[in-house]
């Protein structure tokens, strides 16, 4: 079916960015690739690997300070590098389509989505105004948008992320391109939506003999969806080949590491079983209950109190010392609200939460909560936002010590060193500003800060989802290790059932504020009772088919 002639070839492409007052940074170094029609090539790498730059090199939309310094990009027998902008533009958006990373941000908030989806047709003079409208509405139907007529006039903020991504796919497909560059097309979406979008893309490839350059950080997605895989690290191609070969024989230390960090071949049942053994060896079955929630609920009043929105509809659970409760849900499931209730950051509308028998209280200015926070600490999702950029690591770690009146100056200094050591940070980090640290290092600092007052309970709000996959692995290992050593109790919140399976003893699945399943991790994951959980399991990219016990319902 696929012609032997490659549609896109990159031959020794190098690109660099000019930075004011610094030597230029090379982000792509001698990269060679080729892609045939009807094929999907996955470009895998972490942030800073140059994978997005490679995508932009193909579309010709490098930022102003970036340029290709060596090599050739050839598309359909025509060399693109070195073409004048005018000719380049004639190809971009017509023969080469592009799907951006964050669909909600990828659309102009001030224009109706229908008008935007017609822009490629307009830019290339392919259709008049009325015809554009007709074609766009037809395409909206094709990409699975219900009621395309209404959606044509809608604005991005009125649509969900998945719908926006479908609009963008429709826009990219409107000109009948031969190549699609999809830059992390599903990263910003909920897992179940991710799957449907990837399915849609797959269908389009088969239907139109389309070639797709799929840029992703997730080797699981790549393995599941691509015919070929190319792994980039620091701008260098470290491994490329047929998907099956790469997965079976990474042949390269970095690819190997990526493979281990992905959920490829992941089996929820196995993970839950392994976790069960690990906990059983450490925690006695009659360990005391530390956290107890009774019918805790939260209702918000929107539109000046006219409409009530139930964020959490009444959750009850108990967590024993040294164990983890995993809280799973997609966006809008109420998991963030539940976290805030558990940490005393917002008062419940009904019900109560107790830690060690003491009620979790809330006060707008934090008055009277100090006693609670000796026992309960929190780690936030984004370590860039949760650490004050104008303080040093040492003062961040000392703050909870002085706040909870722990030790004198000398003891505090020793405790800081101890915390850094516990979280695997070099002692030299202590006097640096957080702005100088990498994402992984910052998250370690945030964990160290949470450990400072010797808490019993850690509330972990998506602690790894803002991190690169390999760093994610390291932080998860650190959390597992800390729990073993300090017998901490974790309330672990995540949208990723795979991560939860590995870390949790009990699992609570939330959907639209309701608890849909709750029970021992091995039960929920091996024998899900609801379709929703089955679908969540099936959405884990690259997971072993056995994980999805029952067939998924669309």
């Amino acid at each position: 079916m696929s012609s032997p002639e490659p549609l896109l070839t990159l031959d020794g492409v190098s690109a660099q960015f000019a930075l004011p007052g610094r030597p230029p940074v090379r982000v792509l170094d001698d990269v060679s690739l080729s892609l045939r029609p009807g094929q999907v090539l996955a470009l895998v790498g972490e942030s800073g690997s140059g994978k997005s730059t490679l995508g932009r090199t193909v579309t010709g939309t490098l930022p102003e300070n970036g340029r290709v310094v060596a090599g050739r990009v050839t598309f359909a027998g025509r060399e693109l590098t070195g073409l004048p902008e005018r000719e380049r533009r004639a190809v971009r958006g017509k023969d080469i389509g592009y799907i951006p990373q964050d669909a909600l941000l990828g659309l102009n908030p001030l224009l109706p989505v229908g008008v935007q989806a017609g822009e490629p047709l307009r830019a290339h003079g392919l259709a008049g105004k009325a015809e554009r409208r007709e074609r766009v509405i037809e395409l909206f139907g094709k990409v699975g948008l219900r009621d395309p007529e209404t959606i044509y006039g809608a604005y991005p903020h009125e649509l969900s992320g998945g719908m926006c991504q479908r609009v963008l796919i429709a826009a990219a497909m409107s000109t009948g391109p031969r190549l699609l560059v999809a830059d992390e097309p599903t990263t910003a979406l909920d897992v179940t939506v991710q799957k449907t979008i990837l399915d849609l893309l797959g269908g389009l490839v088969a239907e139109n003999d389309l070639a797709v350059l799929l840029v992703t950080h997730d080797l699981g997605v790549a393995a599941e969806r691509a015919d070929e895989i190319a792994v980039l690290k620091d701008g260098v191609l470290v491994r490329s080949g047929r998907t099956r070969e790469v997965v079976a024989d990474p042949g390269d230390a970095y690819t190997e590491q990526l493979l281990r960090s992905s959920s490829l071949g992941f089996s929820g049942a196995d993970a839950a079983a392994a976790r069960h053994e690990r906990t059983a060896a450490r925690v006695p079955a009659d360990a005391p209950v530390v956290v107890r929630a009774r019918e805790v609920a939260k209702t918000f009043h929107a539109h000046r109190g006219r409409t009530a929105v139930t964020a959490v509809a009444g959750a009850s659970f108990e967590v024993r010392r040294g164990t983890t409760l995993g809280i799973v849900g997609e966006s809008g499931s109420g998991k963030t609200t539940l976290v805030r209730l558990l940490a005393g950051l917002t008062p419940p509308s009904a019900g109560s939460v107790t830690v060690d028998g003491e009620p979790v209280v809330h006060h707008r200015r934090g008055a009277g909560q100090a006693a609670l926070y000796r026992k309960v600490q929190m780690v936030y999702q984004d370590p860039f936002a949760s650490l004050n950029p104008r303080t040093t690591v040492r003062s961040i770690l000392e703050e909870p010590l002085t706040g909870h009146r722990i030790g004198g100056a000398a003891q505090r200094a020793r405790r800081v060193d101890e915390l850094l050591e516990q979280t695997g940070l070099p002692a030299s980090v202590a006097d640096r500003y957080t702005a100088e640290l990498s994402g992984g290092q910052r998250q370690r600092v945030a964990i160290a800060r949470a450990l400072a007052p010797h808490p019993e309970v850690l509330v972990l709000d998506e602690p790894v989802s803002a991190l690169d996959v390999t760093v994610r692995r390291q932080i998860l290992d650190l959390l597992l290790d800390l729990q073993d050593r300090l017998s901490l109790t974790y309330l672990f919140v995540s949208h990723d059932l795979g991560v939860v399976a590995e870390l949790s003893d009990e699992v609570l699945v939330l959907r639209h504020g309701d608890v849909v399943e709750h029970g021992p991790a091995s039960d929920v994951i091996s024998r899900p009772r609801t379709d929703y959980v089955r679908r969540l399991l099936a959405s884990i990219p690259g997971a072993a088919p056995a994980a999805a016990a029952a067939p998924s319902t669309p």
Binding site: T59, T61, P63, R89, A90, V91, R92, G93, K94, G97, Y98, P100, Q101, D102, L105, G106, L107, N108, P109, L110, L111, E119, P120, A123, H124, Y155, H157, L168, A171, V181, H303
Partner: protein
């Protein structure tokens, strides 16, 4: 439902506007009437010898300044609501009449200045983003900061020197032609245009690095389309908000421009009133300025949701 929400919004906005105008009036009243050296002092300036005290007392009684403060304030407020701010001390006519005689010329100047500022500022920012020549861009980018650093009276003086004395196109004193008006409004438009352009350039920069612009570029849109059709719309939102403040700056600027160009308007009137402590006129000036401000901001608020559909009036 929607109608009802809009109505409620309008009532709330009107209430707010009333509070602001009342606040401005009250603040100005107490500032002007309570501080030592009242209006009677202004009238008796020039008198000397032993009869100054007597003259002062006479004048005070005449103006009602010997009554308790709150009574004076109550009278003034109830008068002001009916459009009566008392008589100008010098012209012996209602201050409102004096003020509104001069006002149309100033309003004309201020709004023409604002329009020029918007045109100049927006054009400059767009050209900065569209030009391919690096040197031209660098040059143009340096213009707005210079424009806002120029004292408005200096710009006016330079314009008078060039257009009136060198070129002889307009009269240096009180030119009544449209060209004269245009040149005068240009002198207040420079700073306003610089402000708009600074704001807009920064916002355009921000907008042009946002993901939706990346998308638009990937669709093969021309640079002009990307900048004007997609980025400008988003970048202009803060500028629309700033218009409310800018009109105030324009009205303030007219005071200087009218002085330099010797144009009729409230400029000279206000300065003279301040110098002669003609409080009723100053009070009118302050109150009317506040009225203009709330009106312009109300219009801006109404315009905003037309451009940005995410904003709903009822929610504001």
């Amino acid at each position: 439902m929607l109608r009802y929400g809009l109505l409620k919004y309008a009532v709330r906005r009107l209430g707010y506007a009333a509070i602001v105008v009342w606040g401005a009036f009250t603040g100005a009243f107490f500032l002007l009437y309570i501080v030592p050296g009242d209006a009677a002092g202004g009238l008796t300036m020039g008198a000397s010898g032993g009869d100054v005290e007597q003259l002062l007392a006479e004048q005070r009684e005449l103006l009602g300044l010997d009554r308790p403060v709150l009574v004076q304030y109550g009278d003034a407020l109830s008068g002001a609501v009916l459009g009566d701010f008392g008589d100008s001390l010098y012209q012996r006519r209602p201050a409102v009449e004096v003020f509104f005689e001069a006002f149309p010329a100033t309003l004309q100047l201020a709004f023409l200045g604002l329009a020029l500022a918007v045109v100049l500022g927006v054009a400059l920012s767009v050209v900065i983003e569209l030009t391919d020549w690096r040197w031209l861009r660098e040059l143009l980018v340096s213009l707005p900061p210079v424009a806002v650093s120029l004292p408005p009276f200096l710009v006016a003086l330079v314009l008078v020197q060039l257009v009136a004395f060198r070129l002889g196109w307009i009269d240096a004193f009180g030119d009544q032609t449209f060209l004269g008006l245009l040149v005068a409004s240009l002198s207040i438009a420079v700073a306003g245009g610089g402000t708009i352009s600074q704001l807009l350039t920064a916002n355009l920069r921000g907008a042009l690095t946002s993901p939706y612009i990346e998308t638009a570029r990937s669709w093969g849109l021309s640079r002009f389309d990307v900048v004007v059709r997609h980025a400008l719309r988003n970048a202009s939102l803060p500028v629309i908000t700033a218009l409310g403040t800018l009109i105030g700056v324009m009205v303030g600027g007219t005071v200087l421009t009218e002085t330099v160009f010797s144009r009729p308007g409230i400029g000279r009137l206000v300065v003279d009133s301040v110098n002669g402590r003609d409080m009723p006129v100053v009070l009118v000036a302050v109150t009317v300025s506040a009225l203009i401000f709330v009106t312009v901001n109300f219009v801006v608020d109404l315009l905003y949701p037309l451009v940005d559909k995410r904003i709903r009036l009822e929610g504001r």
